[in-house]
Amino acid sequence: MNARTTRVLQCSAVLVAAGLVLTACGSSDESSSSGQSKSPSAFTGRGPITFAAAKDSSGVVQKVIDGWNAQHPKEKVTFVQLPADVNQQRQQMIQNAETKSDAYTVLSLDAVWTSEFAAHQWIDQLPAAQFPLDEMLKPVVETVKYRDNLYAAPQSSDGGILYYRSDLLKKAGVSAAPTTWAEMKAACAKVERLPEAKDMSCYAGQFQKYEGLTVNFSEAVNSAGGVVTDANGKPDVDTPAAKKGLDFLVDSFKDGTIPKEAITYQEEEGRQAFQSGKLIFLRNWPYVYSLAQKSEVAGKLAVAPLPGLTGAGSSTLGGHNVALSSFARNKATALDFIKFFTSHDSATTFLKEGSAAPPYADLYDDRTLVEQYPYLPVLKKAILNAIPRPRVVQYGDVSSAIQQEAYAALNGDKSSAQALKELQADLQKLSAQQ
């Protein structure tokens, strides 16, 4: 009896000690890799690697990986599926980096994360010469750079486009899609005179207090000729141009161009409203196209670039990039895989089977693809006119500040001038911390 208890004690003591050592290992190594130079690090080591990305509903990512695995039986890639929620993906990747784990080799990053991941040295600088960046759309290439160095390879892009009810516009005698906000409101006024459009609202985007509001606010500001942060990353949002952009949203809420409930809309709520015939115009991402074709408004809709103040507006950029974790092994294999994964061939597969917007310019003009995805030319225009969201290290904080002030203005808690003034102060404080 006594001997047994001692053994139990010994065992548990060993376990405890092991636990302490493990956790201590995880937390104490804060000293290494500080002197990393700015030049691309050496890519050495070959062997099996992992690819961490969001859950892949279409199965096309696994298909592309299978293609690689068939050619490279000794350097197999395992697909690590992360949660579908963007914030959770980011958190898992940050956790992986904070513990300097080598569990994830290649990371699929949202386009706005590049600066943050690069500044924390969670991802390696990549050799720019080895990627066909000149064949890609320029705004997309901008999203993979931090301080002019390449930190990721563009895998897919995304841009906001304007969906509209072509049937109603035609009936009301509006021949072309609007290119300015004023034209859009005029078109709505005509359409709303039709008996079947009696209860419809004019326009909606994503105005709930979340990342989508940052996107819609930035688009409004950019489409009016303003900027959130200038080319050097300095905030410059307290300007007359930016005010005109925000005023468009605020006034539209006031005069009913945008329905009141749109303040609760995320992507899906807006899509539902458009599909059930409550909206004439909707700003959303390309994914809506194929879904709307299966809904009540099938065959009654068309797409156009986003309107702006005096001419075509600018979309913000979405999309995903592929980066190499600094703490991974087998980086030579990883670099080859990144090249393979972002190649022209892979991008074609992603477009054909997963309807992901490719970074390569020529795919948007491919006639057979345009037949399958009629929005491609519009999307190309949207991406070429697109302005990236602020490229800053503390993107999360910048986005929260934008949401906070823009939401207050849309709700009527603050005037747009006041909101922009306070946003400028917040952003300056954030950039001073950098």
Binding site: V8, S12, G19, S31, S34, R90, H120, Q208, Q434
Partner: protein, 351 residues
């Protein structure tokens, strides 16, 4: 934790009394010395048996707590403007993270703090009233009672994440809630209505929990007590106030305490129902999570520690002031005296 405690306390309980009993059962034949060594032996045995549990608790509870305390003394990593890289180490800032709470930057903290407190007080208050009512209904003998009991328990059985989504659809701009009240309230925007939405969903979900515990308390009250009261001509209200409530109090207090602690660390329901970073419903847990997700582990840890202390104080207050008997008869930090007193109380009740 509480459910894990009884076996441990059973082994640990009354190191003084246990051997006395053992000695008594061994009979008066035993010498004084023999009794003493038996005492020492079983005491050591008890300590040995408990030590693995204590060690595991140290690793899973104490170590993370201490790490969080330590982390809360560090600031956020800075950016080197020349290289564009974030520094590798976090600066030691001492109690700065705590001091900031009282400074200019503490506005968001206090907002979250009051939201947390408000939700805890209001939801637990409503849940208690509704839960007791549910228990009384479930306790009644009528046909179809099993069905009623089962249906009352359904909300508690649904995971919070799911019920959050469920209520989000109900509180949608053209959801059921607006259809019922006949006007358009945008529940998931900022404002008092967002708080109301969270409270409704939370009470719906957790009132059955209180109902369940109170029902268990009700079922041990003997029928003859009520019969005697009826003979004395006590009205049903008087019976409820003077018999049911006092007798069900121990169970009710434990239920309310558990709900309080749960409500104070509320996170998933407001997060899913209304959204993160909404000032009107942001709780301390949401704030800490948000700070951590923006790679500011120091302040996040500080907020978590404050929440921890807050919860601890509430729990202590419950145990000290109201005498909630949380872990069977060996309640919290009450000390030996208390334990004996509560034991004695129990004996009286069962006698």
């Amino acid at each position: 934790m509480a459910t894990r405690t009884p076996p441990e306390t059973a082994a640990n309980r009354h190191p003084g009394t246990a051997p006395r009993r053992a000695g008594r059962s061994a009979g008066p034949m035993r010498s004084r010395r023999g009794r003493k060594s038996a005492t020492a032996g079983s005491g050591r045995m008890a300590a040995l048996l408990v030590s693995p549990t204590l060690l595991v608790l140290t690793v899973v509870v104490l170590y993370p707590t201490i790490m969080a305390l330590r982390e809360s003394l560090y600031g956020t990593k800075g950016l080197d403007p020349k290289t564009g890289f974030i520094s590798d180490t976090e600066p030691f800032v001492g109690l700065q993270n705590y001091a900031d709470i009282f400074g200019e930057a503490g506005e968001r903290f206090w907002n979250a703090f009051w939201n947390t407190t408000f939700f805890a007080v209001v939801t637990v208050g409503l849940e208690t009233v509704i839960g007791v009512a549910m228990a009384l209904i479930m306790h009644r003998a009528f046909s179809g009672r099993a069905l009623v009991r089962a249906s009352i328990l359904i909300p508690w059985a649904i995971p919070t994440a799911i019920s959050g989504l469920l209520w989000r659809w109900i509180f949608n701009s053209d959801g059921v809630a607006n259809a019922l009240i006949g006007q358009q309230v945008l529940w998931t925007t900022e404002g008092f209505h967002a708080k109301v939405a969270v409270i409704i969903a939370e009470v719906w979900k957790t009132a059955p929990f209180i109902g369940l515990l109170v029902l268990a308390g009700l079922q041990v009250i003997g029928k003859e007590v009520y019969e005697a009261a009826r003979m004395d001509g006590a009205s049903p209200l008087r019976q409820f106030w003077h018999i049911t409530l006092p007798l069900v109090k121990p169970a009710l207090l434990v239920a309310v305490l558990f709900r309080c602690l749960d409500a104070l660390r509320m996170f998933d329901l407001p997060y899913l129902l209304v959204g993160s970073q909404k000032n009107s419903v942001e709780t301390l847990s949401m704030l800490a999570q948000n700070e951590a997700s923006n790679v500011r582990f120091g302040p996040a840890a500080a907020y978590a520690v404050v929440l921890f202390v807050y919860v601890l104080l509430i729990a202590l207050g419950f145990v000290r002031l109201l005498g909630a008997d949380v872990v069977g008869d060996a309640g919290g930090p009450g000390g030996k005296k208390r334990r004996r007193a509560s034991l004695r109380g129990r004996v009286e009740v069962s006698a």
